[in-house]
């Protein structure tokens, strides 16, 4: 038997004998998976869309895309300090005011939108002390109907 064939046979035998050490790979994977799961944030964040009716020239252009220059139907929601809500609507200059509860907001605005498809957005104002949480809940309710919400861009309103 030649030397080369002997070596070939030896190396063949080695290939068969050496097993891959999978246990250590599994250990490594377990640590990695644990680390990724621990690092992952299980709180899922999202965003609510709203606009500002502003004074900046570019802003005026942006807000005009949301609010029509001379809309036939206008709707406004005011959150009062007592956490009461007032819906102010205007159809062809005919204005109306209506006190609402939080539960009534969705239904009232949905009905108004259905009657007045020209309604482009709801403007929102609030008493100074109202927390962001309450505002966001109102914005979410109006967005649910599919109406954009516009905040006042003026600090005095």
């Amino acid at each position: 038997m030649s030397l080369s064939s002997k070596l070939f046979k030896q190396s063949e035998g080695l290939d068969q004998d050496v097993p891959i050490n999978i246990a250590s790979i599994i250990d490594c994977f377990t640590v990695l998976i644990t680390y990724i799961l621990a690092a992952a944030s299980f709180v899922s964040l999202g965003a609510l869309e709203a606009s500002i009716a502003g004074t900046h020239p570019m802003g005026a252009m942006a807000s005009s895309a949301v609010v029509a220059p001379q809309p036939i139907a206008l709707a406004h929601l005011d959150i009062q300090a007592s956490n009461q809500f007032e819906m102010k609507t205007s159809i062809d200059g005919h204005a109306e005011k209506k006190p609402l509860t939080f539960e009534q907001i969705e239904g009232e605005f949905a009905a108004f939108k259905e009657k007045n498809p020209s309604l482009k957005a709801v403007t929102l104002s609030s008493a100074d002390a109202i927390p962001y949480e309450n505002l966001v809940k109102v914005v979410a309710l109006i967005r649910k109907i599919g109406i954009p919400v516009v905040f006042s861009g003026r600090p005095d309103e």
Binding site: I22, I26, G46, A47, L48, S51, G54, G59, A129, P155
Partner: protein, 166 residues
């Protein structure tokens, strides 16, 4: 009899030594889990990391958070792109930033910071602003922030909330 027992014992011991845990399929499963976790983690990344003391409101109707300029309003400070622009004390503006000129109001500084960040951003025409505010932040503060943003031309707000609830 004794020989039989010994023979049987010998057989079972040799069997025991041959049995190995099938680790290869376990490794395959772990690989799949790992790939899945890494992929989902990569997809979820929105480069958004609110401060730990921030308590976000929770609503059900949400959309995706865009990659836009971020402003964070907490009890103690207002941050624009993770840089403190204004210090607050229970949501009330208090001290001015060390770099500020005496005549500048805190909200003028905010306008400056927003203008600067807008100039630095890749898309200077982007009118989107991501607001990450504490759920207890009063509207008084928010409207000042929104007015400052409007002055710079940020008109489209994205109010960051925790998905779920209701």
């Amino acid at each position: 009899m004794g020989l039989n027992v010994l023979q049987k014992f010998g057989k079972s011991s040799s069997l025991k030594s041959e049995i190995e845990l099938p680790l290869a399929p376990m490794a395959s499963v772990f690989t799949v889990i790992l790939v899945f976790l890494i992929k989902s983690a990569a997809l979820d990344v929105t480069s958004l990391s609110p401060s730990s003391d921030l308590s976000l409101p929770e609503v059900s109707v949400t959309s995706e958070i865009p990659d836009a300029l971020k402003i964070e309003i907490s009890k103690d400070a207002i941050l624009v792109s993770d840089k403190t622009v204004m210090t607050l004390e229970n949501f009330n503006p208090t001290a001015r930033a060390p770099s500020s000129v005496d005549s500048e109001s805190p909200f003028q500084l905010l306008v400056k910071a927003l203008n600067f960040e807008r100039g630095e951003s890749k898309n200077q025409q982007d009118s989107r602003l991501v607001i990450i505010a504490d759920q207890q932040a009063p509207y008084q503060l928010l409207k000042q922030v929104m007015a400052s943003a409007a002055k710079v031309g940020f008109m489209d707000l994205r109010l960051v909330v925790v998905k779920g609830g209701e």
